[in-house]
């Protein structure tokens, strides 16, 4: 290929795209590491946990999130695009009625929020939601 201006443009844009793709799994793996640490690498089931979140959050400073996992002893929330993936852990006591809770979280950018529930039998359930954030919520 001759190094014309057109080819140079194609090359450079491909390079930018590759860098962008490369940065995404870096975030994801941080979350994956945190999840593996929590579950000990156990298989993640799906279906018994519901994560309710808005599709689009105008303000990343307060994004309402609701998790519901009947039969769970604990639910942990992760946000894979935040500087620190951990968001919160809910542990349910004997007087907790439904194993659900809602709160408001900060999201730095458009990203996936992942909820991992530890069930009474020791298995784990996973649910995730992609949330588009218009204005990020980490300041700076």
């Amino acid at each position: 290929m001759k190094l014309t201006r057109r080819n140079l443009l194609i090359l450079s844009s491909a390079g930018v795209a590759a860098t962008a793709m490369g940065s995404l799994p870096a975030f994801a793996s941080l979350t994956d590491d945190a999840i593996t640490e929590l579950t000990g690498g156990a298989a993640l089931g799906e279906g018994a946990i519901t994560l309710t979140a808005p599709e689009i959050a105008e303000n990343g400073n307060t994004v309402p999130i609701e998790v519901d996992a009947p039969g769970a002893v604990a639910i942990t929330l992760f946000a894979d695009g935040n500087p620190v993936p951990n968001v919160a852990t809910f542990k349910f006591g004997p007087l907790s009625a439904s194993r659900s809770a809602s709160t408001r979280i900060r999201l730095a950018t458009t990203q996936n929020v992942v909820a991992i529930a530890q069930m009474e039998d020791g298995s784990f359930q996973k649910a995730s939601a992609n949330i588009k954030v218009t204005i990020g919520g980490c300041g700076g």
């Binding site: 946000a79 968001v87 919160a88 004997p94 007087l95 809602s102 900060r106």
Partner: protein, 109 residues
């Protein structure tokens, strides 16, 4: 941060035995994440509430571990079973060692 922290809790005044009730809690706290910078570019140190618990007559309802990704003025909504009349106690633990608590009585008819 020990100034201006005010817990607010919404619990029904009465319930029937074994009923499921919804509890809403909010505490005014700026939840400084430790990621922000001030005008001079210095990082503002983290100052958050790191734990919240709700108990009824000494039995636990929910125990939440909070990270900096929880919004300013942490809000929680959850459900509890009330087997008998008694008192809910809500406790928030601050990074600086402060503990804030409040309690609400509920009558079971």
């Amino acid at each position: 941060m020990a100034s201006g922290v005010k817990p607010r809790v919404k619990v029904p005044k009465t319930a029937s035995a074994g009923e499921t009730i919804t509890i809403k809690t909010l505490i005014s706290h700026k939840m400084e994440s430790g990621q922000r910078k001030d005008d001079d570019g210095n990082i503002i140190p983290r100052s958050i509430i790191n734990r919240f618990t709700a108990d009824f007559n000494g039995q636990n309802v929910i125990d939440v571990t909070l990270e900096p990704a929880i919004s300013t003025n942490p809000y929680f909504q959850f459900e509890a079973v009330v087997p008998e009349s008694g008192e809910f106690t809500f406790t928030w633990y601050d990074d600086d060692g402060d503990v804030y608590d409040t309690s609400k009585k509920i009558e079971v008819s």
